[in-house]
Each structure stands twice: as C-alpha cells, then as structure tokens.
C-alpha cells in the first residue's frame, strides 16, 4: 500500500512537471493551475465534509478571505508573495476560528445555514469595505516576483503545483494521524468519541480551522493566478461548486478532490459549447440505455429503479437538443448534476471505481497488520495515572436526582464504589441504571446532587474531561466507530497518549513517529487481550455482535481508566462468549481497575461482583453482597413485578402451577 502511493506520487510529480512542456498553450496551463488551486481548497473541505461529516457552505467565503488578504496586502502595502501567502493562511484560519467557535455548537442543517450566512457576510464585507478591498472595482495583482524576476505563467504553475503537493502530503499525514482518527470517530459516534476523552467540539473546530487555512492558501494562490479579483467570484454558486466537486470526486480520498476540481473547473468550458454538451448528453443516453439493459438482463435492478435515472438522462438529451442558448441554463444543468450526484454517485467517481475494483478483486485492499507480531498482553496495561488511595471510595454519587419532564429517572440515589472492586448494578428495565451511567460519565448533568471521583467533584464536567480523568465506559447499544478498523477503534481510546501537536504530524517528527509506534503496539496488545488479534484490520461494523462488545471494552481500556463502566456487556452474547467475557472482566480487575457492571444475566453479576446495588423506579432498593441481595424480599418483588410475586416471590417458579387469580 505504501509502495503504491509512492509510485502514484512519482507519477503525479512527473505529470505535473511534464504538463506545461507537453501542452504549452497558456489557456490550458491556466486551467490546470486553477485545478491545482481548487484541489488545495477541496482537500480542506473534504476534512470537514468527508471526515467530520459536517456541511460547510462557507468555503467560498473563506476562499475570498484568502484571496483578498493576499490582494489587499499587495495592493495597500506591497507585501511580497512569500509573506502574503502565509499571512493569507493565518488570516483565513483566524476567520475560520471566529466562525467555527460559535457555529460548531450546532450541527447538520443549522451549521449549513450558519456557514451560508457567514459566506454571505464575507461577500457583503468585501463589497462594502472599499477602503481595504476597492469594493466592486476589484484589485489587480501581478504575478509574484522573486529577486527581481517576475514569474511567467509556466513558472507560476510550478509554484502552484509545488504548493499543492505540499498541501497533499500535509493533509495526508494529518488524516492518517491521531487527528484524522479523531475526525472520523467524532462523526461515527460523537458520544463514544467524547467518552474516549476526545472532545468532539474541540476537534470539529480544529478540523474547520485547518480547513480554513487551506482555503486561505488556495485563495491567495488564486489571486496571483488570476491577477485580478473582484467580489462576485466568491458567491454562493462557488460554494456549491466546491461541495459538488468533493462529493463528485469522492469523499475521504486525496484523488477525489483533484478529480473533482478538474471536473468543476472544466465544467463551465464544457457548458459554454452547446455542440459539445449535446454530444455528452447523447453519449450519456447511449451509456444509460446499454447499462440499463445490462442491469435488467442480469436482474441486478428492477425496471422501477432504473426508470427515473434513465428518463432523466433522456430528458436531458432532448433538452440539450431543444436548447439554443446554453449559457442561460448553465445553473439549471449544474443543479441537475448536483441532484444526480447526490442520488446516484454518493461515493463519488473514485468511490465508484473503488467499489468496482473491490468486487473484482475482493482482497486487494486488505492491509496486513505488522504490529500483530509485536503484541504482548502485558503491554496492554499502563499503570493508571489516577490511582487513588486503596480501600477508599473511588467514586461517590451523592443524592443524585435526574429528572426528565415529569419522570424522575433517578431519585436521590447514593452510590459508593470502593476501589478495586467489581460493583454490580441491577434492576428491571427502565429502573435508571443506564441513566446512572450517563450521569457518572457526564453525558447527563444531574438535576441535583453531585458525583465525586477520586476526591474531586466531576458532575458538571464534560464527558471528555471525565474520561481523561480516568472513567471509561462501554455502551448498551454498541457505539463503535463503524467504518474504522478494530485497531483504529482502540487507537482512538489511546488518543490521550499522544503529546504530538499538528506541527509534529505535519513534519512527521521523531516524537510523533515514536508515539504512533508505541500506540500501535499497545493497540495490538489490547486486541490480543480481548482476543481480537485476527480481526484487527476488520472494520468494526463487520465484526460479529459479541466481538463488537469485546472491542468496546478494548477501546475503553485504551484510556487506562481507574474506573470502567460496563453497560450490559453480556447482552446478546452466546454462552461461550459470556464465559470469555467473565474471564476478561476478572483480568481487568486484577490489573487494579475498578468496575461497575450493569447486567441482566444474574449468574454473571452474582458470580463476579463484590457488591451489588439494586435500582428500581429510580431508587436504590437494596445494596450488599450478592447473596444478601438475592435473598432480599424487596429485590425479588421488584424483579417479579408487583402482584404476581407479592407473596410467593421466586419460589413461585418452581412451585406447582399457581391458580391464584389476579384481583380484578
């Protein structure tokens, strides 16, 4: 895989060097230059859209800020290229932060609209702040000069190409590092991400700011490339064009943005020539008809599924035949393309090709984990940094009240967890066990009461801070990062072991490489401990259910917690799986980790817990050693339900059929 990308890189490098020599036409060189510049921006946009899964409609605005920073710096102060470009990056990143800090408190459509509003403000400001931007008149900027030599189109092309390559390498490194893993994790399961100590908000903001920096770089290069900038360029359509390019090319790839950039840059030229457009439309119909027949013949798709896209393509061809002036309808065609891509080409061209290749050659993309051999169970453990005094209560939930509307999910519950024990938490469905978990890990802020952990109050802290403080958890509904491999899931749990910053990652420093190496060995060791070595490179969503539960435990262990919360780890597991699980839980305790265990399998809870607390109706009804709790009349009643078990209790099961009628 590594060698493949190296070869690809060399080919790309040669292609870039050779391009102006083979095609010396300045028009095409300029077009290629624009593609390279867009690609830089799209790498950044892909971080936001593809990796963190947020929709930004503000990237044209950011692009404009980059352009105008460079333009105004040159126009007003005569600042040279070498200073203007970094300044553009910094200014755009700063604007990105200004937008991201408030805006990323919301997601989805909210964020889309807010970024759209931001883009609109920027366009207005560029238009209105004439003292800086010259307003609608625009700014003229010549090609940069180095040591008195003014670059020509070809030389500038090489500058843009070099910077694109740098951006590509930097982005690639970032996305392969713990930062990239954090981005993917926060998208897959924000709640689990926070509970792994990776603050979703922080990393979203970081991704956005980084992306803005790239937009700034692209913007400044664009200024020098065009030699003239005016406010109208940075409009809403450009933003949509960028998004279209990212999706059409293929998200979460580097080749996708380059391809997408090429498509959207050439699109206007294609659309300006009606003859060419007609030919494309006719070809599309031909391909569509052949593909449809083939799909129908092979019974891959039904007539109904094919009808819409086929009709649309034919309608498009008819439309192109009727059309006289294509320029006027440019945006309609553009809109239709967007619809087409959203519905039929979600993974983009690159994704489509990759899926095709994977079908032909199923194992071609499977990587081998070279760290499996270095795994050693003893390396899975790291002395917890948060070890409190032995024998003392590690955690104390004090009179916790959690109210949702009229429901008191937890009603003045006291819970003390002694260090080094396994503490069972049981109760009927809806009795408040999971709510308790969520209170302890900071997902819910209790309505009243406090939670102390290791002597400090943690209620009110963010889930990420609580996780870093030493409380790890698993989830009742498995919350793995589905599209990431088992190893990567555990690596997200190990995120806190990285001290490297962005610069370390971008420059691939020794410190970063050492940390990554150590983390990978530990991840492999943890996977060995939970018995998933063979599945380390499998995507989490493809693991069997029981293995997913074990992987969740492994990921939580990555945090080196002093307290581990397991929420129904045995649910849905088969008998042999449960045996394995019990052994794993025991081993975890042996390594000095305190556990809270929510479980419905009574034999599991009763056999391994030191203390058991029983919740019912949001209240603690019993607590003590397993045997005591099992004998407790209140517990039996709660489990059997009011009337039926009111007098007979558990005994009724083994007793002869009850003929006691239910009082009506």
């Amino acid at each position: 895989m590594k060698r493949n990308s190296l070869i690809l890189g060399i080919i790309a490098f040669i292609a870039l060097v050779a391009f102006p020599l083979v095609i010396p036409n300045p028009y095409y060189i300029h077009l290629a230059e624009t593609i390279l510049i867009y690609a830089i921006l799209l790498f950044g946009l892909d971080i936001v859209v593809g990796y963190t899964g947020e929709v930004s409609l503000g990237h044209a605005g950011l692009f404009g800020i980059g352009s105008y920073t460079a333009g105004a710096l040159f126009f007003k102060l005569g600042v040279p290229f070498a200073l203007a470009v970094p300044a553009s990056i910094a200014v755009t990143a700063a604007f990105g932060a200004l937008l991201a800090l408030p805006a990323l408190r919301v997601t989805g459509p909210y964020l889309a609209m807010v970024t759209l509003a931001f883009g609109t403000i920027i366009q207005i400001l560029i238009n209105e702040m004439t003292f800086l931007t010259e307003g609608p008149l625009g700014i003229k900027v010549p090609k940069p000069s180095f040591f008195g030599h003014k670059l020509n189109e070809v030389e500038y092309f090489y500058v843009a190409a070099a910077l694109m390559m740098v951006a590509l390498i930097v982005v690639n490194r970032l996305l392969k590092s713990h930062f990239g893993r954090a981005f993917q994790a926060l998208r897959a399961s924000p709640v689990a991400c926070d509970c792994m100590g990776v603050s979703v908000y922080r990393y979203k903001v970081f991704a956005f700011v980084f992306s803005a920096g790239l937009a700034g770089l692209a913007g400044s290069l664009y200024t020098y490339s065009e030699e003239y900038i005016s406010p109208n360029t940075y409009n809403f359509e450009l933003t949509i064009l960028f998004l279209l390019a990212v999706i059409m090319g293929g998200r979460k790839t580097r080749s996708g943005p380059i391809l997408g950039a090429a498509i959207v840059v050439m699109l206007p030229s294609l659309l300006s020539d009606i003859e060419l457009f007609r030919k494309i439309a006719y070809t599309a119909v031909a391909i569509g008809v052949v593909a449809s027949i083939w799909l129908l013949a092979k019974k891959r798709k039904s007539l109904r599924e094919i009808a819409i896209p086929l009709t649309a393509t034919i309608a498009m061809a008819v439309f192109s035949y009727k059309l006289e002036n294509i320029i006027d309808w440019r945006l309609t065609i553009f809109g239709l393309m967007t619809l087409f891509v959203v519905y039929y080409l979600q993974d983009g061209v690159i994704g489509f090709l990759r899926n095709l290749l994977e079908k032909i050659w199923p194992n071609g993309f499977r990587k081998v984990d070279e760290y499996g051999a270095l795994a050693n169970e003893s390396l899975a453990w790291e002395k917890s940094e948060h070890s409190g005094k032995a024998g003392v209560d590690l955690l104390h939930a004090n009179q916790v009240l959690m109210q949702f509307g009229g429901l008191k999910a937890l009603n003045q519950v006291d819970l003390k967890i002694a260090k080094g024990t396994i503490h069972g938490l049981i109760g009927p469905n809806g009795s408040g066990k999971s709510t308790m978990m969520n209170v302890l890990t900071g997902i819910y802020k209790p309505t009243a009461g406090a939670v102390e952990f290791n002597g400090g109050v943690i209620s009110g802290m963010t889930p990420a801070a609580i996780a870093l403080g030493g409380i790890a958890r698993t989830f009742q509904n498995v919350q793995l990062f589905g599209e990431m491999t088992a190893t990567e899931n555990v690596l997200v749990g190990l995120h806190h072991t990285f001290k490297s910053n962005v610069l370390d990652v971008m420059l691939n420093t020794k410190r970063y490489r050492a940390e990554e190496h150590r983390a990978r060995i530990r991840a492999a060791s943890i996977l060995q401990f939970v018995g998933l070595t063979d599945l380390s490179n499998e995507e989490a969503r493809n693991l069997p259910y029981g293995k997913q539960r074990l992987l969740e435990i492994g990921r939580a262990l990555g945090l080196s917690p002093s307290l581990l919360l397991l929420d129904e780890p045995a649910a849905g597991l088969t008998a042999p799986d449960i045996k394995e699980l019990v052994a794993i839980i025991r081993k975890i305790r042996e390594h000095g980790i305190t556990l809270i265990l929510i479980e419905h399998h009574m034999d599991v809870v009763m056999s391994i817990s030191d203390t058991v607390t029983v919740l019912d109706f949001g209240q603690k009804i019993a607590e003590g050693k397993p045997a005591e709790v099992q004998a407790n009349a209140k517990v039996i009643e709660a489990y059997l339900g009011g009337d039926a078990g009111s007098n007979a209790g558990a005994a009724e099961l083994s007793a002869p059929p009850s003929s006691t009628p239910i009082p009506a």
Binding site: V49, G53, V55, L57, L99, L101, P102, A103, R105, V106, G108, P109, Y110, A112, M113, V114, L116, A117, F118, T120, I121, I124, L125, N127, E128, V191, F236, E237, I240, L243, I247, D328, W329, R330, L331, T332, F334, G335, L336, T338, L339, V342, Y343, Q346, F404, S434, N438, I443, Y444, F475, Q476, N477, Q479
Partner: protein, 296 residues
C-alpha cells in the same frame, strides 16, 4: 425621532415577513427534521407567479390582487410537494442529512435559474393593490401595505395554529412532529404528513412573497437573502417556537432598517447574520427554544 419611528414601522413589516418564512421552516422541521434550503425561492416564485396573474408582465392583469392570493398559495403548495418528493423524501428514507441539504439547494438553484429564464434577470415592480399614499401614526409615515403585511402574516400563522389545535388532521401533524414512529402506530401516514407540511410551508412562503412584493422589487434574486435571514430568525427565535419566530423576526427586521439608515444600506444584511452567530454562541437552541436531551 419621526424617522426613527418610521424605520421601526418598516422594520416591523419586514420582520413579520421574516417571521412568516421562519414559520415555514418550523413547519417542515417539526414533522420531518428537515427544511427547505430553497424557502426563499418558494417565496420568489410565489411573488413572480402572483405578479404574472395580477400584474402586467405576462399580458395581464388577469385577476385582481386579492383573488390572486389563493391561486398563488395553491401554486406554492404544489411547488412544496415537488421539493418534498424530489429533494427530501429519498433522503429521509436513507437518513441522509447531507442528501436533503444538497438536493434542496440544487432545486433552489434550478428554480432561480428557471425564473431568470422566464421572467428575466431584472427586477420588476409589483403594482400595489392599495393606495400607496402613507398615513401618519405619531408623526411617522406608514403605508397601508405595511399594515396589510403585518395583519396578513399574523392571520396566516394563526390559521395554521388553529388548524393544528382543532382539527384531527392538524393533531395528526402535531403528533408526527412529537414522535413520528408513534404517530405511524396510530394509523397516521407520516409520509403524507411530511409532504403536507412541505406544501403548507411553501404555500406560506408564496403568500409571504405576494405580501412583500408590493413593498420591494420583484425578481428572481429576491428570495435568497430573505430565505437566509428568515433562517437566522428561526434560529434566533428557536426552531420550535412560533412566538420565537415573531420575536426573532421583529428584532431582525428593526435592526436591519435601522442599520440600513444609520450606517449604510450595504451593511443592512450584516446585523441579522451577526446576531445569528451570537445567539448560537450563547444559546444554540434559540431564545425561545427548548434544549433537547439526547438519548444514548
């Protein structure tokens, strides 16, 4: 002072338009968790269709302003159904948020471009259905059309609210907004409810379009900024609160006319959008919105 008062009155009229559009966002958001990024374009189409019916641009006028309104709303409803069927439904089925955001934007671009091709790129004047001679309140000039805008907007929202509270179908809409799955269990066709909410939402926007058109210029580009600012209003007021939409609309409308006069017309869009960022930073659920609790 008179000028200030006068600006406030225009601000109120403008704000009520924002409130009606924001109300339209709320309708679809409540039932489906989605919204039409082309809400502004629905307004624009409403205004242009209205102008073609009641004005001279298409060889008319065919009917008078007041009779035109129900026709335009019907048109708006149909347009809303198209948006829901093409842009939203497929993405709701696959739970693809990115999908409906992009496709409603794509449809908005198409609508705008089609409108440009039909009605041209230049702004047109919408003949005022009432006398444009202003009357005086506390020494400030107020146009009759402005009063109509305020009353019309309030009437529209009130009508929808009454429908939701009193009729069984309205209750079905509220139930779908509450819990779509549970509504399905009651035999309510929640897909139809979503389609209906889109129809209603676009009809509302089209109605707002013909209300605002006589006060401003009418053209293919009139909707985008209105739609965006109405969204700001929806967020400022909270996406779940009708009162919030009105308060948010008034705040924004007045802020905007004041900025336009005292600072510069070029900047008049800025306060709303800044206010939007500010509200997000302080209270993301909006001034009147409820904070929701996520289930794990």
């Amino acid at each position: 002072m008179d000028i200030f008062l006068q600006l406030t009155f225009s601000g109120i009229a403008l704000g009520m338009i924002y409130a009606v559009i924001a109300f339209g966002y709320q309708l679809t958001f409540a039932t489906s968790g989605t919204l039409n990024f082309g809400q502004g374009e629905a307004l624009m189409l409403g205004a242009l269709v209205g102008l073609s019916l009641a004005g001279g641009v298409m060889g008319g006028p065919y009917i008078n302003y007041w009779l035109m309104i129900p026709l335009v709303m019907l048109f708006g409803a149909l347009q809303g159904v198209v948006v829901e069927r093409i842009g939203v439904r497929p993405s709701i089925k696959t739970k693809n948020e990115f999908g409906w955001i992009m496709s409603t934007i794509a449809l908005a671009i198409i609508f705008k471009n089609v409108a440009e091709n039909i009605w041209g790129k230049d702004d047109l004047t919408f003949p005022s259905p009432v006398s444009s001679t202003p009357f005086q309140i506390f020494g400030a000039n107020v146009q009759i059309m402005q009063v109509i805008v305020v009353l019309g907007a309030l009437a529209m929202m009130l009508a929808v609210e009454l429908f939701n509270r009193k009729s069984i179908y309205g209750k079905a809409v509220v139930a779908t907004a509450n819990d779509s799955d549970a509504a399905g269990l009651m035999g309510i066709n929640t897909g139809q409810v979503v389609t209906f909410s889109y129809a209603l939402s676009s009809a509302t926007a089209a109605f707002a379009g013909v209300l605002v058109a006589p006060l401003t210029l009418t053209g293919a580009t009139m909707g985008t900024a209105l739609g965006l600012k109405a969204f700001a209003v929806a967020i400022i007021g909270g996406l779940t609160s009708g009162v919030g939409a009105i308060v948010g609309g008034l705040i924004l409308g007045i802020a905007e006319t004041l900025t336009g006069y005292y600072i510069s017309t070029g900047y008049k869009e800025v306060p709303g959008l800044l206010l939007l960022l500010l509200v997000l930073a302080i209270k993301p659920s909006g001034l009147f919105g409820k904070t929701t609790i996520k289930k794990v």
